[in-house]
Symmetry: C2
Subunit: 147 residues, 2 copies
DNA sequence: TATTGTTATACTCTATAACTATA
DNA sequence: TATAGTTATAGAGTATAACAATA
């Protein structure tokens, strides 16, 4: 069986459908925790790296320092993070998770695992492995196509 | 081989990686055409449905009427659409693609096909079919998990 | 009365540019 | 002189609420 252009665009359309669904799902899930995607991304960085300067956050998030000021303002205002003095550099600010922030991250980890189970637990091992491998292929192609 | 929770979260992480990549890619591609994702979504609706009232656009995009006013303002200002009188209902506005808008949509269709080729043309038929089928599974699971 | 789209207002995320304090 | 973060300003996308014109 030859592949037609239709088969190829169908694969892309299905992929995009999943992309849109995941976006919506993420946004709704986070909204229930009082978070947006950019704010959750920042929290996630703190969760994995420990306290960070705003400069480091700016680099990691690939947004301007000004933008980080705004995100941290929001997260501090809603109790997820605190600003503290940098021990040696008095220009810099260290942003740390509060207990509430850490608790929220733990909840996100849990619901991440829960989602993984709901999506993949019933999938036969071989099928799952083949899916993951195909995903890796597509991801690599997309990366190439862009650089 | 038993699946571990690690296998499941790895599958989810790979999926999310792809979601993020696609989002970035889409955004960059559209930016080159002078468009954002929400504006492109509106154009796409006009492309597939013909001229629509703002009310119909509001329903289809699932945003407020006020938001549609803003999106149409932007798209009209950059020459992608025009506002015209509704033939029978003098309250309503019909939004139509300009020639520039139609041309842009055609270009989007082309680059959509091009991307489909780059991502999937080299994939063996059987592997592609299995990937699409797994995507459909995951999409269905995600839909269930939410309702 | 109900509907269409607008004005008024506000919040989040994003950017650039100018500035302060510190290194 | 360079760096960290802020204030000032701006624009896009989102929302609610009040309102005008029309059905």
């Amino acid at each position: 069986m030859m592949k037609s252009i239709h088969d190829l665009t169908e694969a892309l359309d299905r992929t995009l459908e999943l992309v849109v669904l995941f976006n919506d799902d993420m946004q709704q899930e986070l909204a229930r925790l009082g978070l947006s995607v950019p704010r959750a991304h920042l929290l996630w960085l703190l969760h994995h790296n420990g306290p960070m300067t705003q400069r480091a956050l700016s680099d990691a998030l690939d947004v301007t320092p000004r933008n980080v000021t705004g995100l941290v303002d929001g997260l501090a205002g809603t109790g997820f993070v605190t600003r503290e003095q940098h021990p040696t550099d008095r220009r810099a600010t260290l942003v740390s998770l509060t207990e509430q922030g850490a608790t929220t991250l733990a909840a996100m980890d849990e619901s991440h695992k829960e989602l993984a189970r709901r999506l993949f637990a019933d999938m036969p091992s071989a099928r799952l492995a083949s899916f993951v491998s195909a995903l890796a292929d597509v991801t690599a192609r997309l990366r190439e196509a862009r650089s």
